[in-house]
Symmetry: C2
Subunit: 242 residues, 2 copies
């Protein structure tokens, strides 16, 4: 069985918000980068899969944050895959601070797609990963929750632009998170309160599409839904403030 993989992370100035703490989307971006590097290292990364017309797509993610690290803080990130189901691979993350305290826990679920046809395929049809690449360590928090109806009370729209898109001309998943944070009342972001994020990426958005972020606040939960101009739901998320 595999061990957890370890990455070092320092919070850089362009990753902090006005409180000098790392932004949620910056923490998630570092997790995804590490996921890519770890998959590559273990032989099931982008390069290995693309040669077989396969690619990973992030489907869901849950992130629990006890505290946000400060600018220039040095932390360690552990990441490991502990389950490969028929359609979903489960990758876990934990950030550990200098005192050895785990202060961020996350679970992500990934689909394998046929890159040209852009449809999910069974993980079992790919021979790049086998059970000996799994790690037995449990997931550090509960799996991403389903998010059904959001029924937003507020809406903000903007077009998908150059700085949003990846090599496919699709909006980067982390941009959805930034767009959701951008509609929150600034006081909620000033507090740096502990939180749990659940996010479900449902549909890809393309350069030039008009994206609408719908938002609703329900007690201590912020609910979000991003839709495109043809009324497709691109992404739903909740932030539970703790």
């Amino acid at each position: 069985m595999a061990d957890k993989s370890i990455f070092q992370y320092r919070v850089e100035p362009q990753e902090v918000d006005f409180t000098f703490h790392a932004r949620l989307d910056a923490l998630c971006a570092f997790m995804l980068n590490s996921a890519g590097a770890d998959a590559q290292h273990r032989g099931f990364g982008v390069d290995a899969l693309m040669s077989k017309n396969r690619a990973w797509v992030l489907s869901r993610m849950a992130v629990e944050i006890d505290r946000f690290p400060k600018q220039y803080e040095e932390t360690r990130l552990n990441t490991w895959v502990n389950d490969n189901g028929v359609l979903l691979s489960t990758r876990n993350f934990e950030f550990v601070d200098a005192a050895g305290e785990i202060f961020v826990r996350a679970v992500s679920q990934w689909c394998l797609i046929d890159y040209e046809r852009r449809v999910p395929v069974a993980l079992t049809e790919c021979d790049s990963f086998s059970d000996d690449k799994l790690c037995t360590a449990q997931s550090p928090c509960s799996l991403p929750r389903k998010i059904r109806n959001v029924e937003p009370t507020e809406h903000v729209s903007r077009r998908a632009v150059y700085s949003d898109i990846d090599f496919n001309y699709h909006v980067n998943t982390m941009r959805y998170l930034a767009m959701m944070l951008d509609v929150l009342p600034i006081e909620m972001l000033a507090s740096n309160r502990p939180l749990r994020l659940d996010v479900h990426f449902m549909h890809e958005c393309r350069l030039g599409q008009l994206l609408t972020v719908g938002y609703r606040q329900q007690d201590d939960v912020s609910l979000f839904e991003i839709t495109t101009d043809d009324d497709t739901v691109a992404c739903r998320a909740t932030i539970e403030w703790r």
Copy 2:
């Protein structure tokens, strides 16, 4: 006299665009971070100045890019201050690749402000830097040019949001660059052509203000002007495509 300071830089996935090359705003962000770290190290950084109610404000910048570094490319950045005038300090940058080739050259000009009153003050009234902190090496490209009239033919507007702002609730200077790139035809950004950027930061924008990016293409030069909802010009820039 001082030597050039050296920083190591690796292009991370969140810094590249759809062509897998570093975005212009990411390269500039790394230069500004290094400027901050170098100033700190030499005793005239944010901390030293803030205790005297002083702060650095970036006024103008010129950047010449022969080629854009690729994702994961490792480069070296040299930075040095070679002139302190009455009101402007001149800091230079050059990116050097693994083969020893300089492929990005930049010159930035900074004002010292009275932080509370937010007005420029003479550099000479601050004892934190003296001539022995200057480096004699010449600037690697010509000083930032003045940009007078833009007369835009296209306009795109959006509000300044959470992910745009710094600890003062002002829009981060690098966000202006991203906003300008976002209005360009995508084909121009696909080409990764060499370019020279000149940018002049004229006025601070606050959270919630409506910002309008005006754009005009004139032969091989893209001209930009960002204005606020009270018709103040926040920033002007040109990109000369080479």
